[in-house]
Symmetry: C2
Amino acid sequence: MIGRINHIAIAVPDVTAAAQHWQTMLGATVSAVQTLPEHGVRIVFVTAPNGKVELMEPIDAQSPIAGFLQRNQDGGMHHICYEVDDIAVARETLESRGARVLGNGEVKIGAHGNPVLFLYPKDFNGTLIELEQVVTATTDASAE
Amino acid sequence: MIGRINHIAIAVPDVTAAAQHWQTMLGATVSAVQTLPEHGVRIVFVTAPNGKVELMEPIDAQSPIAGFLQRNQDGGMHHICYEVDDIAVARETLESRGARVLGNGEVKIGAHGNPVLFLYPKDFNGTLIELEQVVTATTDASAE
Ligand SMILES: [Co+2]
Ligand SMILES: [Co+2]
């Protein structure tokens, strides 16, 4: 069911400072800062040849990662995201096997505009797993 | 300086059970269990098309991840490993920029037989970063 590793997300207290630091210290390739108000985060991608790390800063106390940052003031590894072909099928399969989906169990639109769901960390070795259905952008060539 | 993401390591209390669970629940591709006594861990690779997760169980109370498991009894994301071309150059560069290498600062031979070092998590947003110099195996074709 799970396919590519889409990203590894790291919560940070200050995404601008973190991106600058990863760039200066590690020679990392970092994107511009994007603010996603509907997801409560400001993010930067650290891109590698085979994948990406997403640095995320909560934009306010209501942010879904505000509590995590409060418990981990330096920041920390927050989740790993795997791609799936069909999120609805993934959800049904997982629930039929006894895995629990976070929140009300419904598929949401994630930070990258794709349908996502998060699995209950206690079911996966204390690790928060995000599943994302990567919808291929329609290109001119394939549009009718 | 940093190149590919080599692996994401997750500490787990029981690597056999964890591998079975990831396989059954997520359809993950998992390797056989390998025991690395000199590193104090038993590991399984969960392979994806673009990278791998390494599930690690401490083999005893002296294991370098025993304390982490005691603080995180379900397990949890432990570190992320980036490849570098030359570990000695990476170490010098990082230290000249003020980053701290864990332990006595020396390069060690890591779990995959390659030279590695770990950076101080407080310097990188609470995230433990491993750097690994991936030594390409000598093949018959390239051997003299
Ligand atoms: Co994510
Ligand atoms: Co490692």
